[in-house]
Amino acid sequence: MKKITNILLVALFINLCSVSCNEDELLTENPKYSYTVDNIFTTSSQIDQVLISIYRDIRIMETCTSGSGGWMIYLKYSGTDMYTHRFESEYFNEWSNKNSLFSNFSSAWEHLFRIISQANLAIAAADYPQIEWGSEQEKTYAIAQAKFFRAYAYRNLGEVFGQAPIINDPISSPKYDFEFADRKTVYQFAIDDLETIENDLPVTASQEGRIVRGAAQHELSELYLALGIQQEEEGTDGTASYNKSIEYANKVIDGGTYALINSRFGARAAEDSITYDVYNYGNFIPKALVGSFKLKTNYYWDLFQEGNVNYQNGNTECIWAAQTNYDAYKSGGDDNAYLIYPRIFGNVLRGNIQGAHIQGALENVGGRGVGYNSLSDYPRNLVYEGKWNDDMRNSEVVFRRHIMGNVPDSPFYLKYFTIDSLHRAISTTEEEYKMIHPWAGPISCKFSSDKFTGVSEGQNRSNLFRNDYIIRLSETILLRAEAKQRNGDNAGAAADINMLRERAQCTYLVTAGDIAADANFDIILDERARELVYEENRWNTLLRMGGTIAVDRIRKYQYWPITKTTLTYDFNLWPIPQNVIDSNSGWPVKQNPGWENR
């Protein structure tokens, strides 16, 4: 017995020795209950999970998901020539307080680099030896999506911030001397990524909402256009880039997969008209129901109905859409699965002088609006002046300018009147009109509905549960039109714009001569305002165009006088956030032009 114990002791001793000899292994933590980037990846589905996170992060950016603060509204809309805020010195109406310390710039910058860092992690992890892929195709598609996302982030950085460090590997330890690449290099990096993976992407996706080849081609068209503009700004020739931009847009527009919608389709194709009920004071109770009005529907309206947005819904215009789904929201599994558009774009009729004539937050007024983003008069009225009834995009069912009075003592009671005429009637001075005007405006079918989902389950017309376009064919066409115009093909540019006009059944069309006379790209930008209102990332468009287009248009079209008095400086990029400059102390970052001494 004693002998056995001795042997055991010796064995134990040897064992201890061998452990202590291998100190590195002993000291490396391999936690059983805490996952790290070093031990999490065991199957291919975990790589896809990283991609899922990015899909979600892009939805935050593109749909301004409320759970993550208000900065996305800035990135997409606020402060441009098209959108304003109902309080004069709030948001981007006011420019004296915009500088490199303004936190929304850094929020956008950080968000884009989070996407890049996750994409780099997915790309690296896809090659880990322990990962078993179902097929080679599964792996190439995973990498292709990750590279698409990285390019998407760099395209945004290039357009909005210009310069940025190029990072194509996961970062495992902090670094304080990131070298910044210039705008052309940033664009080129995104282009290279996309061109490598273009053919690894499927033409259509089996899972609705995944990245398809058309999305990469659209991105490439935009990137080459942006690159060409930057080349010309720097005094070199942009023709080759513009040609590439047109080539990639051609693949999308003429490739046979996509086509503009020009007939009724989808879930509500059979409804010739829709009915809005009117309740006294907007009280949603049966005995308050006092009236209704009907609107004639059309195919442009079909494009923005629930269940109609994805390509798989028969929507040949949809290239990429963010997914939001009521069941996913209701289950609690996806707390961001809704669009906050009725709130951020909708009318505010509570507690102000309009309340004497129209009240509530029902379908009649567009839902429960909070009005963070009102339209400036430019997309609201100016782009339709003289052609009010000559554009499906301005049809009542798409861009409803009327509401019905629901306050019994009001002269507007049960009258169907335009919001603008109400504002005129209740203002005694021009100043009063100016003050009330941004509180309510046209109700677009892009942000509101005649049938809000979930009302019987407690939803209060604050949210839409609809997929939402990130890339729609109309924008590809407008990119191509711009590239053609920049390349001197005025007839081609006019033809592209007229594709959208004709589809919207406009009789007013563009000629090559109009394009030739338009040095400031007003025709393209106006058409974007008609076709892509509430959709395009207007900041990206304006800043991508370079020169002084952004500041000129902001000064010209912004609603409030304070914009003109405080935008005393010129810029065509956002400032590099100060915390980026401060923390990257090992490589001096040169602040973007216009912001150096602000």
Partner: protein, 406 residues
């Protein structure tokens, strides 16, 4: 280590009843961070709440996976070396007590959050910071001012001061000027306290005749005006400087106990003091009214805000944007003196108390937080929450009581 010097034979000072000298040295370590927090952890699964869906799989929620932080394998234990000197003394037949403690401590590798370039995908990381020194002293003087048969009055005064400073940061010289770099991004400056405030020096309010300033900075009249430090026209990031410190300068407590027959009165005044740019905190809403924005009346007090007629250099216009300008801090001293405690008690000593077998019967009235003298315009200066921060004010409490024991 302590030495009661009055016990020594050679010591003979008649006024001094007792003197104890103390000295101590200590070293201790502190892990400072939670388990695994130095690793590059990930959030995953339902609990991480990174949900997304694809319309082709109705009702199915996919869950993402996200790295939560950067790894930092170089984190070690915090180590603090501290020296402590002092004495306790007793004078004039126990009428005066003087205690002094002086300490000097050096903490190496203290764990901090460092702001890192967001291009890493993360905005901060846990890191250790070279060395932080804390030196300070605490002095307590207790006196028995009057001691008669049925009247005694005693007082106690405590003075405390701490000097906190960063002695070394990360040992980096990234800008190559031969001197160790400050960490502007995180707000750490060598030779200054950890809780330093860095920003723009406000020099008043833009008045209507400041046309040059307005034009240069695109600022309307009524907005805060800042000092241009770098000589370049226009207020920019180069015009930032160290504005002050969040830590108190020193604190003083004074308490008194007065007993007359069976009555006893006790009160304690507490003071924490600023001065020399210490004990500052941001309180922007004390200088403005929310006028243009959505909450016109949400400031706590009526404020004589700036107007073209009321050319204040303290207040600004209500039209100043709700989100601020990233620069305006509205720094205020939190220094205050407060009557923290007041109590009055009466002990029943009459014979009837004993007769009914009560060993102790006392009634008292006590009040806490009776009044505060301060220039701080937010809630309780001790807590330091500024206006509109949604905190409850510290309550003033009054209590009446009865102590009864058998």
């Amino acid at each position: 280590m302590a030495w009661n010097i009055t016990n020594e034979d050679f010591f003979d000072v008649s006024a001094l009843d007792n003197l104890k000298l103390k000295a101590a040295w200590g070293q201790n370590g502190n892990q400072g961070v939670g388990p695994y927090s130095t690793l590059a952890r990930v959030n995953n699964g339902i609990a991480a709440k990174i949900g997304y869906e694809f319309a082709s799989d109705p009702g199915v929620v996919y869950y993402g996976l996200k790295q939560t932080n950067l790894a930092n394998s170089e984190l070690g234990w915090e180590q603090t070396d501290s020296w402590n000197f002092g004495f306790e003394s007793e004078w004039f037949n126990s009428r005066l007590f003087v205690d002094l403690d002086v300490y000097a401590s050096k903490t190496s590798d203290q764990i901090f959050q460092r702001v890192i370039p967001s291009m890493t995908g993360f905005t901060s990381m846990i890191t250790s910071l070279g060395r932080v020194d804390n030196n300070g002293l605490e002095l307590t003087v207790r006196t028995v001012n009057i001691q008669k048969n049925d009247f005694t009055w005693s007082s106690a005064l405590t003075f405390w001061k701490n000097w906190n400073k960063i002695a070394e940061l990360y040992g980096e010289d990234l800008n190559g000027d031969g001197v160790e770099d400050d960490d502007i991004a995180s707000g750490y400056f060598i030779g200054h306290p950890v809780r330093t405030i860095y920003g723009y020096e406000r020099i008043g309010t833009v008045q209507e005749e400041d046309t040059e300033y307005m034009e240069l900075n695109g600022v309307p009249a009524g907005y805060p005006k800042y000092k241009d430090l770098d000589g370049e026209p226009g207020i920019s990031a180069n015009d930032r400087k160290i504005l002050g410190y969040r830590d108190p300068n020193f604190s003083l407590n004074l308490s008194n106990t007065i007993a007359y027959k069976d009555f006893e009165l006790y009160f304690m005044l507490q003071g924490i003091f600023g001065g020399n740019d210490y004990f500052l905190n941001s309180n922007p809403w004390d200088y403005r009214n929310a006028g243009n924005g959505s909450r016109k009346n949400s400031t706590m007090y009526a404020i004589p805000y700036w107007t073209p007629e009321n050319r204040s250099n303290t207040y600004i216009t209500p039209a100043f944007p709700e989100q601020g300008d990233g620069r305006f801090l509205g720094l205020q001293s939190r220094g205050f003196v407060r009557l923290q405690d007041l109590s009055l008690s009466y002990r029943f000593n009459q014979p009837w108390v004993k007769d009914i077998n009560i060993s102790n019967l006392k009634v008292f009235f006590a009040a806490k937080n009776l009044f505060t003298i301060t220039n701080w315009g937010g809630d309780d200066p001790e807590i330091g929450s500024p206006q509109r921060s949604g905190t409850y004010p510290s309550p003033t409490t009054f209590s009446l009581g009865l102590n009864l024991s058998f």
